[in-house]
Amino acid sequence: MKIMNNRTFMVALIVIAILFPLIFQNDYYTHMLTLSFIWAIAVYGINLLAGYTGYLSLAHAGFFAIGAYSLGLLTVKAEMNFWLALVLACLITSGVGLLIGIIALRTKEHFFAIYTLCVGYIIYLVIDKWDGLTGGVRGLIGINAPGNIGPITFETAESQYYLVLTFLVVVIFVIYRIVHSLTGRTFLAIRNSEELAQTIGISTMKNKLTAFVLSTFFAGLAGALYASFVRFIGPDIGSTAIMFDLLMYLLVGGIGTLSGPLVGTLMLVILSQNLQFLQEYRMLIFGPILTLIIIFYPRGISGSFFDWKRKRRNQTGNVLKPIKVKEG
């Protein structure tokens, strides 16, 4: 990819995103987009871990829920300022992430997936059963909308949209910087071969832990935004169903690519909104799509698009063989 093209493309995308609510003036669309941006932030977190480091965590809906509940409890029960609560929610989530990561990352491959699946389930069960703190199955209601920043308030759908959009852009930028830094390259080295990475002197545990904590941080941020945006949370947001949704957004969009999480989330959220009549049964269609994509297009929409572009360029220009990607 040429950097110039890429940058113009990015700027164009952001301009479109900024103009969108002004053009359509439709609260429903704005609402949907805001929600999908929030999910996308969580998916970016998972992508950093699964796509770039090669560890499939099935506990991230749990971390999303921890972020959401932290913000909810801090603002509703402790009546804390929103922004302070938001920061704390992210820190609490990454703190829990650190503790779990230290233990979980000693396991590999299948064991890691199964371990995190169980961790996710424990988080869900704890939220569900701990009536006194979380409100149990009744959930938590009356969470405040984001607090003001000086004169700016976040009462309307548009202002919330812009707030979440800002967060998303920052998250994408941060992820971009991480992925293109030495740390990001180290993640890739671990993904491609952990033994090899160790042999050349990379501290794999430290790097894996960094990736894990960062990814839980983003999950927590998304959760906190979700709580203040939807204003109601129940234990279901930590369920495996949400985890699988997030995973699907990532895979359809393209695991291990920078644009994948956004593409996948937007596409699937919009698609499932337009398939309203299918709501409950949308997995009848999405389940097989997920399976087919993993068989025939393991790199999702974004990855396959770049592969295709590269192939086309190679046919016209020099004979460079496409890079064989081991995973993701």
Binding site: Y115, L247, R282
Partner: protein, 287 residues
């Protein structure tokens, strides 16, 4: 003392069901190295098919169960043929995600066809028997006895028949098995068929004492994973023993600790095991 005995009996019942589910899971893992997250959905399908055969077609319990075993076995074969075989050379991440896709599909399918409601399966064995002051329902006794019979049959099949031997051979070395002329694809399909069949038997046996609903496989599959890690991934005796160990810890935990948190016990067990030994108990030199 009586409560303890009663709970021991209950744990034998639960443990039998867990063992059967874990057996199917461990067979597929041991032979094909696939952690089949969709196994719980196969269990769920087994429950629904038996129920439908009994209510809609008026089949006898055992015939309904037989049909269910057949159908779920065939679903297993289809999964192997059209999904997992295509992913045999893919990185390990892909198997898991494909399995999750299948799980999502089968659950939505069940909800679409049978609805989201909880349904009850009536067993023809509702009688209560009293032995030495302890009361048992026939269905629970039936679960224990049938599970043991199935396990013995599976053992005999694997150890005494030629087909069984080829399955064992493949679990030891895929290349070796293929060199001596074993048809790998056939064995893989057969393994999935047995695995699905075992899940169907477990679900059909357990449904009269539990309920049938689209999410019924969730907890069971998670626990089955705990069991096969407990017993060593791919180990058949491990899955049986692990199933009963988990059954015991749950029943006793529910009685003496807290009924609300009994489902957490399994996961705490797993978290503790993997914390102490990240490669799982009894790991035989992971590849």
């Amino acid at each position: 003392m009586e409560i303890l005995l009663q709970q021991l009996f209950n744990s034998l019942t639960i443990g039998s069901v867990y063992s059967l589910v874990a057996l199917g899971l461990t067979l597929v893992y041991g032979i094909l190295h696939i952690p089949n997250f969709a196994h719980g959905a196969l269990y769920m399908m087994g429950g629904y098919i038996t129920l439908t055969m009994m209510t809609a077609y008026g089949f006898n319990y055992w015939i309904a169960m037989f049909v269910s075993v057949l159908v779920v076995g065939i679903i297993g074969v289809l999964l192997e043929r059209f999904v997992f075989r295509l992913l045999r050379e893919a990185p390990p991440l892909h198997d898991k995600i494909a399995a999750i896709g299948i799980l999502l599909f089968l659950e939505a399918f069940a909800q679409f066809v049978w609805g989201a409601d909880f349904q009850t399966m009536t067993s023809p064995y509702g009688q209560v028997v009293t032995i030495m002051g302890l009361t048992f329902t026939m269905q629970r006794l039936l679960i224990i006895v049938s599970a043991i019979v199935v396990m013995i049959l599976l053992y005999v099949f694997l150890k005494k028949t030629f087909t069984g031997a080829s399955i064992i051979a493949m679990s030891q070395s895929r290349e070796g098995a293929s060199l001596v002329g074993i048809n790998i694809n056939k064995v893989a399909m057969l393994t999935f068929m047995i695995s699905g069949g075992l899940a169907a038997i477990a679900a059909s046996l357990a449904s009269p004492i539990n309920l049938v609903f689209p999410g019924m496989g969730h907890l069971v599959i998670l626990k089955a994973f705990v069991i096969i890690i407990l017993g060593g991934m791919g180990s058949i005796p491990g899955a049986i023993v692990g199933g009963y160990i988990l059954g015991f810890s749950e029943s006793l935990g529910a009685t003496y600790i807290s009924n609300d948190y009994k489902d957490i016990i399994a996961f705490l067990l797993l978290v503790i095991i993997l914390t102490v030994k990240p490669t799982g108990l009894f790991a035989k030199g992971e590849r």
